[in-house]
């Protein structure tokens, strides 16, 4: 039987540790992905992810179900990411991967995907990473939450604490900047 987030939260508050473990299993990858895309550093993203669940566990008793559990979790993670960015006092830099190793790619590619396509895809990923890193934090966060986590505009607005129209404007502006960057890099 698959429990909903809210049911697992209730059971966790009631003392069932395994229920919280289920929540962790369910949300660790999305939270890590969010942290990685916002911060741009693998190791720090892991730390943020771990800290997110630690804080969630400690504050679980105060979760009243006013919002979705996932939104609550995202808020904790985003706050931690914001703290990290402020602590660093610089724009997060996405570490670029090493030059493409064709042998490594050959080992990982899909059976039907030609090497040239794989190289092009890896190259594009690098360009996207760089372009995202250059965006202002608000625009990057809006794009990440919408594009990769499927939140609605209203959920994003509630999460980051800004009006609905602001979220849409940030998204449009961020995508337009990315479009320009991609066009300049020949994509």
């Amino acid at each position: 039987m698959t429990w909903s987030d809210e049911e697992l939260v209730s059971r966790s508050i009631g003392g069932d540790a395994d229920s919280f473990n289920q929540l962790v299993l369910r949300w660790e990858r999305p939270i890590y992905a969010l942290a990685y895309r916002v911060i741009g550093r693998e190791e720090d993203a892991r730390d943020v992810c771990q800290e997110t669940f630690l804080r969630a566990f400690r504050a679980l008793g105060g979760f009243r179900g006013q919002a979705k559990f996932s939104s609550w979790l995202y808020r904790i993670a985003l706050n931690l990411c914001r703290d990290w960015v402020r602590r660093q006092r610089r724009t997060p830099v996405v570490p670029l991967p090493e030059d493409v190793d064709v042998i490594e790619l050959a080992a990982s590619r899909e059976p039907t995907e030609p090497i040239e396509d794989l190289v092009a895809r890896r190259d594009l990923t690098r360009v996207v990473e760089k372009a995202m890193a250059r965006l202002p934090e608000e625009q990057r966060t809006a794009i990440i939450l919408k594009e990769y986590h499927g939140l609605t505009f209203q959920e994003i607005a509630d999460l980051v604490g800004c009006p609905l129209s602001t979220v849409k404007t940030r998204l449009y502006q961020g995508l337009t900047v990315l479009r320009r960057d991609l066009e300049q890099s020949g994509r």
Binding site: F20, V24, V127, V128
Partner: protein, 273 residues
């Protein structure tokens, strides 16, 4: 960022992005869809942004490996580790011990490492009883086992490098002991539990902060000391200047008196005449 005035649809950017993500109510979607069919600029913009979304879909984060050595977060609700986790923890502790044992070697300065390498070479040469000569016949290397040792030969003259090697060895040993002692003192106290990556980073940051504070305090103390010295020197210089001025004043006054006496004498003489 200003949108080019090529389209006068109200809040055009917001509707475009809502339409792009299909996060729009049906009435607005119908209205904007109608607009799109007649607006080339919005059509091109929408197409371009769809291309951007396609590019964004290629960006995926790397596979995470968390501090528990697994690709999943260590849940804070897990109090009793599984047998697999305990085994992994034991391996991690062993690896950590090996790493700490080897770390003192990496912390040694480069010159000490070079000296250690030379020492090993020298010891090997001694063991092999190498006889290295460079003379008119060129460079000759012989192992000592191939010829009988000359008796009663002064060791210092035949192998002058032995004394140097012995000195180097004792210096190296003392340096290695000092490095080991420093590494042992700097390492965590005999903790039985493995320090996680996050805890280690926090500890390193705490040590760095402490070190920075100490340096700042020392700098402040030195600045205060410097200021005190400057002030004292200034006072001394002022006293000297005052003293010298006093001398000058005294001398000047003396000269004035002499000149006045001379003038008075001349006046008296001239009056008598």
């Amino acid at each position: 960022m200003m949108t080019e005035t090529l389209c006068n649809y109200p809040d055009r950017d917001e509707y475009l992005v809502a339409y792009l993500y299909d996060d729009i109510d049906s009435a607005e979607q119908t209205a904007f869809g109608s607009h799109l069919s007649g607006c080339r600029h919005c059509q091109q913009d929408l197409l371009a942004l769809r291309g951007v979304r396609s590019a964004l879909s290629t960006w995926a984060p790397p596979e995470p490996v968390f501090s528990n050595g697994e690709s999943r977060v260590a849940s804070p609700a897990s109090r009793v580790p599984s047998p697999e986790a305990r085994a992994a923890s034991r391996e991690q502790r062993a690896a950590s011990r090996e790493q700490r044992a080897a770390s003192w070697w990496r912390e040694m300065p480069a010159w000490a490492q070079v000296a250690a390498a030379l020492f090993v070479l020298g010891v090997s040469a001694t063991i092999a009883n190498l006889d290295v000569r460079y003379d008119r016949s060129g460079l000759t290397i012989r192992t000592g086992w191939s010829q009988p040792r000359p008796a009663a030969q002064a060791p210092a003259s035949a192998t002058p490098w032995r004394a140097e090697l012995t000195a180097l060895e004792s210096e190296l040993r003392s340096e290695m002991k000092a490095s080991q002692a420093a590494a042992a003192a700097a390492s965590a106290p005999a903790a039985q539990t493995v320090m996680s990556d996050a805890d280690f980073r926090r500890r390193v940051r705490a040590l760095l902060d402490e070190s920075e504070k100490k340096q700042q305090n020392e700098l402040a103390l030195r600045l205060v000391q410097f200021q005190t010295d400057i002030s004292a020197q200034r006072q001394a210089d002022l006293r000297t200047i005052n003293q010298n001025l006093g001398f000058i004043q005294r001398d000047t006054y003396g000269e004035l008196l002499k000149q006045r006496e001379g003038m008075n004498y001349l006046l008296k003489v001239s009056q008598k005449q």
